[in-house]
């Protein structure tokens, strides 16, 4: 039976398949986030400053430290991949606070009252983190290019790079969303965010190779998804770059962790409005 609110066309039978509708819901959530960036690119610009600072100050200074064994690679080459990944991570971690903000405003409820599966909402938000991540990556590419880092511009490398940035950003955005669902307030999230993000970054191969780590830290780093993201980014970003674990394994690890996190986040996100 069709009911037709004031001046509106009656409901028509919706024949789109379930899978298509799911895709449309993911796309809708992601598109809305991208539209926001389009309306207010200022934040995107301010975030681009961070990788600039890291590369120019930290990267250039550390490149003078001879003790760091980075294989055949110069340190600035080595760390540019780490900084790219870091800036993607930092952008993604912001998603938890955005979710708390939406909860406080009430906007969250429009999502939760809709028939969209919670996982579609989570994935949509996560993929929009990927779009932000790509803009960060572009900044790092340009900057690294200016610093004479040998950037690989092979189409296959660039395509895989996009894939890894989107999956990596989505993974950490989802992780951030889970933290937000658990801690519930902005203040606590800020505290926890610091406590979590820094170790995530330092206990990885982002700014120094696994080989110089003490054994226990190496174990931690091997359990850290960021390590696999950096590993792949390093192989794909640099001309003659190589991967320790294999790009395929990197992707598998990231995809599996992402899927698990989406499952957890979907459950928690639905209860966030309580």
């Amino acid at each position: 039976m069709s009911v037709s609110p004031a001046g509106l066309p009656a409901r028509t039978v919706d024949q789109s398949s379930r899978a298509f509708r799911y895709f449309e819901q993911v796309f809708g959530v992601c598109a809305a986030e991208v539209q926001k960036l389009y309306h207010d690119p200022f934040e995107l610009l301010t975030r681009a400053i961070q990788p600039v600072i890291w590369l120019l100050l930290f990267g250039e200074a550390m490149a003078r430290v001879r003790g760091l064994v980075t294989g055949s690679m110069s340190y600035i080459n080595f760390i540019s991949a780490g900084i790219l990944t870091q800036s993607v991570l930092f952008v993604a971690i912001f998603y938890g606070i955005a979710a708390i903000w939406e909860r406080d405003l009430g906007v969250l409820h429009r999502y939760l009252v809709s028939p969209a599966p919670r996982s579609a909402l989570v994935i949509g938000k996560a993929l929009s983190a990927g779009i932000r991540g790509l803009s960060q990556a572009l900044v790092v590419y340009i900057l690294a290019g200016l610093l004479a880092v040998p950037i690989s511009l092979r189409a296959v490398h660039l395509a895989l790079m996009v894939l890894f940035i989107v999956v990596g950003a989505a993974l950490f955005a989802t992780f951030s969303l889970i933290v937000a669902c658990l801690v519930k307030t902005r203040e606590r999230f800020m505290g926890i965010g610091q406590i979590v993000t820094m170790p995530l970054f330092f206990a990885s191969n982002a700014i120094y190779p696994l080989t110089i780590m003490p054994a226990w830290l190496r174990v931690v780093a091997r359990l850290n998804p960021l390590t696999y993201e950096v590993d792949a980014v390093r192989a794909l970003m640099l001309r003659g770059g190589s991967s320790d674990f294999g790009v395929g394994s990197d992707f598998t690890v990231l995809a599996v962790v992402f899927a698990v996190l989406v499952g957890v986040a979907a459950r928690l996100y639905g209860r966030m409005g309580n």
Binding site: M1, S2, V3, S4, P5, A6, G7, L8, P9, A10, R11, T12, D14, Q15, S16, R21, E24, Q25, F27, G28, V29, A31, A32, Q35, K36, H39, D40, L105, G106, V107, H109, R110, Y111, L112, V113, S114, P115, A116, G273, N274
Partner: protein
């Protein structure tokens, strides 16, 4: 027989039969030891406009958040548009629209983008999206502002956009939680006017809350009075006024009903009203 107390006899098609489109059965919500909503039962017929009134903290939002699947119930239940609230929240969501007390329009998007997001979340057929958005915006007098960022809107415009969002998928039931709160008189008038038009022109069932009876009495077929989580009366605004006096405020209604509570005749009155309405509807 009291259908509302025996969920198993309510078939999924019950809502489409033309009688109650919302059946609330002993709905209860606790926060810790605090009982925010205490065994609330009522029914709303198809096309009816039902108002829930009560002071701040009476439990209005908690009832609405449960009925819109946002908040799990502690006990009791409801049938919404023919679907069981607890067992089938997904289907319930498909058939309702919700305008929350807080914001539901995103200030960082334009009016059209907000509606586009809703259209995609609700799976509105691709070919229809554009025309539906245009028509809904026009119905809410927002057509000239279609491409403005919502953060530049006035409170009344935001509310009307939120109503547009809630109606875009043509829900059987629209829930509005304090739709006029924080609006100036002109904006209130515009919002209530839109709802009155909706009521006159469509079969959409409306459940709205308010803490002013005066404000919604013209709009509502019936109102339920919530007090400290309990539903203390359900009647037409005229009947409530007849009980309490023509110039009655919400406080007067409470005061009058408190005396009656011991005998609790209001539950009886509620049933009578519902049964008579149901009878009236089956003739119509």
């Amino acid at each position: 027989m009291d259908v509302s107390r025996s969920p198993d006899t309510v078939s999924p098609a019950a809502g489409a039969g033309g009688s109650a489109v919302i059946e609330v059965r002993a709905l209860t919500r606790r926060f810790g030891n605090f009982v925010a909503v205490d065994r609330v039962s009522f029914g709303v017929g198809r096309g009816e406009v039902f108002g829930l009134i009560g002071a701040n903290g009476a439990g209005k939002s908690t009832v609405v958040r449960m009925l819109t699947t946002l908040l799990p119930v502690t006990s009791g239940g409801a049938t919404i548009a023919g679907y069981d609230l607890v067992r089938n929240p997904g289907e319930v969501r498909r058939h309702i629209g919700y305008v929350p007390q807080l914001m539901s329009a995103d200030g960082d998007l334009t009016a059209t983008e907000n509606l586009l997001l809703s259209a995609r979340l609700y799976g509105i057929p691709f070919r229809e999206i554009r025309s539906r958005i245009e028509q809904t915006l026009a119905a809410m007098d927002l057509a000239p502002f279609a491409h403005r960022l919502v953060k530049a809107f006035s409170g009344g415009m935001i509310r009307r956009l939120e109503i547009a969002q809630g109606l875009l998928h043509c829900p059987a039931i629209l829930f509005l939680d304090e739709p006029t709160v924080g609006l100036d008189p002109a904006a209130r008038h515009a919002v209530l006017g839109r709802l009155a038009k909706l009521r006159a022109e469509t079969a959409t069932t409306i459940l709205l809350t308010s803490h002013y009876m005066e404000e919604i009495e013209e709009l509502c077929d019936r109102v339920g009075v919530l007090r400290e989580g309990k539903l203390v009366a359900v009647a037409s605004p005229a009947e409530l006024k007849a009980r309490v006096g023509p110039a009655a405020t919400l406080d007067d209604v409470f005061a009058a009903l408190a005396g009656e509570e011991a005998k609790s005749p209001e539950i009886q009155a509620y049933r009578d009203v519902r049964l008579s309405r149901r009878a009236a509807r089956s003739h119509g």
